[in-house]
Symmetry: C2
């Protein structure tokens, strides 16, 4: 039988602080979990620890909300300073509701409150955590760092959990990736009956991220790094940016 | 270290025909793959084999498209008979494009062409494959069938791959489930800093389905059953129907 796909959630991952060498922390934690990188391995990291290591904090006390933020704060009942941070990360607002602004981020992702995170943060109430500025670049840097430390370059996936149209509950998506074919175009491959396949473009990076989120667990458990093993190495990687549907091609934006 | 989450794609799953005993086929294939059900195991099945076993075929030759189907066929360029089948499965049309109708299905799921499938089907061009009529019930029946055969009742997940708003590529979702808490409400659980979590409702069933789809692979490979192992058994299951966001609660419908 072919070996199974396995997802190891690393135990006892350290608390990440601004400026930490995340690649070193991952390499050390892999070793502490008796795991050694192998060809084809994917290291999946929760966005939160990447943002923390990159010091992507914003202090609420430093923010002076503008008029537009004041208006959206009035409509949503949100803190005007949080609205200002959200607008700073956004191209425009798609929808709003009490306590919720759904925006298109500067990177083109549709997200509640622009992915700005208030949970699991030191000094909560005083500061919030933004997404990495360029998550695909962050993933490449982590892959390079892990290669330098271990001699083996893994693929790297940076995951986030987002709300969705039509469905209840969040699901993991890939916001950054290195060495992974995040969008897999299988048009033209024949199916088992020899016909050409119709449904054809697979959001592979997002599916992997959802899988990693299952292994990470949710909430208080604190397992933000997962080693995914058992997939063949990717010949032609595509970054997570390839998963972002352009607005002009989107029927629901 | 805690055992990893593992996903075994069963090799050599037989070709499924209408009326086949799918539980028996799965039990036999598990044995042929040297796998024995254990407490906490989840059997994930692609929708296609469930629909085939349930004989959810529609013959195009039997269909006489009505006026509404003719109108949508004109707008989309689709075969009026395929449009009629789509409308028969749908509450209403949300969006359309050349060769595409996005509808809300009778079960409330937003899907291209109502999930009607033309690939991997015998006598293609002559008949299409519909979704199971009640996929949660199908999952319960499979779980009961597997319990009867093996003495061990697994959880069962029925997966489909669907297009999404905002993102490129399909992702696996749960359309049917038994013994799985498809929607996991973690509101009120404290995070690592002791604050109450804000993002709080996880689409666990969909994340599991995406994970299963990674293990199944895509296209011609023919591995429609995946054994997922390593999660604790669910104390309070919720069916896949719980993942369907009601239209009145949906900002994007």
């Amino acid at each position: 039988m072919a070996p199974p796909l396995t997802l190891h959630a690393l135990e006892d991952f350290p608390h990440v602080k601004p400026g930490d060498d995340l690649a070193r922390q991952i390499a050390d934690c892999l070793a502490a979990n008796s795991l050694r990188l192998q060809p084809g391995d994917i290291v999946a990291c929760a966005q939160k620890i990447v943002s923390k290591a990159e010091a992507r904090y914003a202090r609420l006390a430093d923010l002076i909300p503008g008029a537009e933020a004041g208006e959206w704060a009035r409509r949503t009942g949100k803190d005007p300073r949080l609205v200002q941070i959200t607008l700073d990360q956004a191209n425009y607002v798609l929808r709003y509701r009490p306590n919720l602004l759904v925006v298109e981020t500067k990177l083109g992702m549709v997200m509640a409150n622009a992915g700005v995170d208030q949970s699991n943060i030191d000094g909560a109430g005083e500061q919030v955590l933004l997404l990495p500025e360029d998550p695909d670049r962050s993933a490449e840097a982590l892959a390079a760092g892990l290669e330098q430390i271990s001699g083996m370059r893994p693929a790297v996936l940076i995951t986030d959990s987002v709300g969705r149209a039509w469905r209840i509950g969040t699901a993991g998506i890939a916001i950054g990736a290195a060495g992974i074919r995040c969008v897999n175009d299988i048009r033209g491959e024949a199916d088992m009956m020899g016909r050409e396949l119709k449904v054809s473009i697979v959001g592979h990076g997002d599916q992997l991220a959802s899988a990693a989120c299952v292994a990470m667990g949710e909430g208080a458990e604190g397992t933000p790094v997962v080693l995914i093993r058992g997939l063949p190495p990717e010949a032609e990687p595509l970054p997570a940016a390839a998963l972002v549907r352009p607005a002009e091609d989107d029927m629901f934006r």
